[in-house]
């Protein structure tokens, strides 16, 4: 979203993922080759045990990039807002 190639990602965690990471929001700068949601999940999983715990049941974790639902192949750019959360249960 941002043009600044060095801009960090804003990572948001919701519901039980937030409880596992212990934080709702963090700013992180993964290496440049982390260019998709799938690669970001791999990098986050390797980066800390708490993030790994939040992401361990990968099939039940949903993702949004810049507030649109995203899949493993969705591209990630510096400055993006990337949210991870469980399947939604509103209504």
């Amino acid at each position: 979203m941002a043009d600044d190639a060095r801009a960090p990602l804003t990572i948001l965690w919701f519901a039980w993922l937030r409880e596992r990471t212990g934080t709702a929001e963090e700013r992180l700068s993964p290496p440049a080759d982390v260019a998709t949601v799938g690669a970001l999940v791999d990098w986050l999983t390797a980066s800390s045990p708490r993030r790994a715990a939040a992401l361990q049941t990968r099939n039940t974790v949903r993702c949004a990039v810049n507030q649109d639902f995203a899949g493993p192949d969705t591209p990630i750019r510096p400055g993006d807002e990337v949210a991870f959360f469980p399947p939604v249960t509103g209504g």
């Binding site: 948001l12 919701f14 519901a15 039980w16 949004a64 507030q67 649109d68 639902f69 949210a83 959360f85 469980p86 399947p87 939604v88 249960t89 509103g90 209504g91």
Partner: protein, 153 residues
């Protein structure tokens, strides 16, 4: 013409109905769905339901669902209000109103809006019980099936 709100406070169904229909003489029917907090039948007593959401994306997602409803049916207005925060059994959670010249469109659009809201808007429910435990509500396959029936129409 659509009203979309995410709020902690309760809503007044009559006031929302009047706001939707005021000044209209072309409406032939209004569909209405109100979702409420249901007490559990078995196990420890449910004391509170807490709704968490993703501010910003929630409003975007609901507006996109409303736009899709407006594409599929002739709507003269619709209202979607979803509460967040802590609620007790019996309290209102969500209101959907859809006004159309004809009843079938009003009823179908209302069902569509709540079915898609349940599966495509970023809300999460956590239940708190009298024994002090709290659990996140799991997504239900029945909700996915209800949303999927609108996929090809």
């Amino acid at each position: 013409m659509a009203t979309v709100r995410v709020q902690t406070q309760d809503f007044d169904v009559g006031a929302e109905y009047r706001a939707l229909t005021e000044g209209h003489s072309d409406i032939g029917g209004i569909g209405c769905f109100i979702g409420t907090v249901r007490a559990n039948a078995v196990g420890p007593q449910l004391t509170a339901l807490t709704l968490e959401h993703y501010p910003g994306m929630t409003e975007r997602a609901i507006s996109a669902i409303v736009t899709e409803a407006e594409r599929r049916w002739t709507l003269l207005g619709c209202t979607v209000i979803h509460r967040v925060g802590s609620m007790r059994p019996g309290e209102n959670i969500v209101l959907v109103l859809a006004a159309s010249p004809h009843r079938q469109a009003a009823l179908d659009a209302t069902a569509f809006l709540i079915d898609w809201l349940k599966t495509k808007a970023p809300f999460w429910k956590q239940e708190a019980f009298a024994d002090g435990t709290a659990t996140w509500v799991d997504a239900r396959e029945a909700d996915d099936a209800a949303a999927a029936r609108w996929q090809n129409s």
